[in-house]
Symmetry: C2
Subunit: 244 residues, 2 copies
DNA sequence: CCAAAAGTGTTTCGTATACACCCATGT
DNA sequence: ACATGGGTGTATACGAAACACTTTTGG
């Protein structure tokens, strides 16, 4: 039976979102769409690729199908190829059933993706797609090697965060200095000095202060900033090391 | 016909070597082992993987078979998945013939590898395996997308070189300060200040000066240094940015 | 007036950069 | 003696780190 799937290659996507209060989150979906099985089997969004489909197209397709998210930043960061990685008997059976093909060994190409969390409300995702955001330090046991994929994705994100302007993909267009600070702390997993951080950011010509402030907050309203990607691209040539 | 190959997945390896006088080199092999066809069709070492073989094992196997090189540093750095990447009619035919299977679309997992060039003499490689070292800026047209793979590999090497102690895999165990300088210049593609470079390196506790010098050279004999990987591993925790 | 988060300046230290000449050896 | 690459020191400037209080708003 030809289902159009390539039986050897899949993509899995670690979708990161950032919540001001709770830090980094990852989007997980329930393997069993309709049922309230216990324990729930959670997994990363992912799928076998379609024959002759580009991997990045496959990843976009999967995200659209499983979460409604479309047209977002994707970065291929690792390949998981352990021949025993689909060892889990029941989960493997589920995969064969749901894909309609006999699976022997699947090499998966892993992507991470960065989305503006506030664009994707919990209830919407949950209702339509059985998907939910999980705090990074609160991730349950997932099927196959998906916990390992998240760990590696986070590790790569931490590295690339130092040299690429990634945080602006997680923040609203207009963001405050403290949001930028918190996201940096949250990704790097360390505390940063408020004053020194602001000084460093203020030196960056591609992070532009607006004459616009928060409204209706019960404290001094924070100034908004925007990221100028053109200026960034122009300036970063001949640059190594920290970007943020 | 079952040849044991997975018809959808291959590995290709960009083997980098460093020559004191000529800089970075890449190992290419002649597609047609026995013939003296013109024009010669050159390619990266690579192969379809064997069913249930780990990718890194596959890469090691390929290097052993095609170049005699074994047990070396390998880093997976990208995936090439364009469905049209095997477009070249004649090369595709050759691939089908040589692998003994019908090939439709192959996703290749690309590795780079760093070897001590002086361990693999030109004549040995050339005689036994039809393989040769090519200067980076003197690479001919290769089959499929192999030029693109090299370009991407070099780009990733440049980035990772800044944060990982990679150059010691290209240098002899005992190396001189100028060798380290030249390799850095050669990988980064820029000139570095001799005095400032030495000062920086001398601050690194894991690069250890020996009381041993060059012999029989027609100039002031250079001191030898070694890299202490234990010290490096111990020290680098909690460190970002430049390593070399 | 209180709570809550935003925002601000100075000093110290280490590292990056720029730059030009003497040294040790083989032939 | 000369050719060849090896090796050295100082001054300046910039960014990293440490550190505590005032400001603005809503309730």
């Amino acid at each position: 039976m030809n289902t159009g799937f390539n039986p050897h290659i899949s993509v899995d996507i670690v979708v990161f979102g950032f919540d001001d209060n709770e830090g980094l989150k990852v989007l997980l979906i329930n393997r069993d769409k309709d049922e309230q099985k216990h324990p729930a089997r959670l997994k990363l969004p992912g799928s076998l690729i379609i024959i002759r489909e580009r991997l990045s197209d496959s990843a976009q397709r999967v995200l659209q199908e499983l979460t409604g998210i479309k047209d977002i930043y994707l970065k291929q960061f690792a390949v998981f190829d352990n021949p025993e990685r689909l060892k889990d008997g029941e989960d493997l059976k589920w995969l064969c059933d749901s894909s309609g093909i006999m699976i022997e060994r699947v090499v998966t190409i892993a992507y991470y993706s960065l989305v503006k969390l506030h664009h994707y409300s919990e209830t919407e995702l949950s209702k339509a797609f059985n998907a939910r955001w999980y705090n990074l330090d609160d991730i349950p046991d997932l099927i196959f090697d998906h916990n390992e994929i998240i760990a590696e994705g986070l590790s790569v994100l931490r590295k690339e965060f130092l040299t690429e302007p990634l945080c602006f993909k997680l923040l609203p267009k207009k963001f405050t200095m403290n949001q930028l600070l918190h996201i940096s702390e949250s990704i790097l997993g360390i505390e940063l000095d408020n004053r020194n951080f602001r000084k460093r950011i203020n030196r960056l010509e591609y992070i532009i202060p607006l004459n616009e402030h928060q409204k209706g907050v019960a404290h001094k309203p924070a100034r908004y900033y925007i990221f100028d990607s053109r200026k960034f691209e122009f300036i970063k040539r001949g640059h190594t090391g920290f970007i943020i």
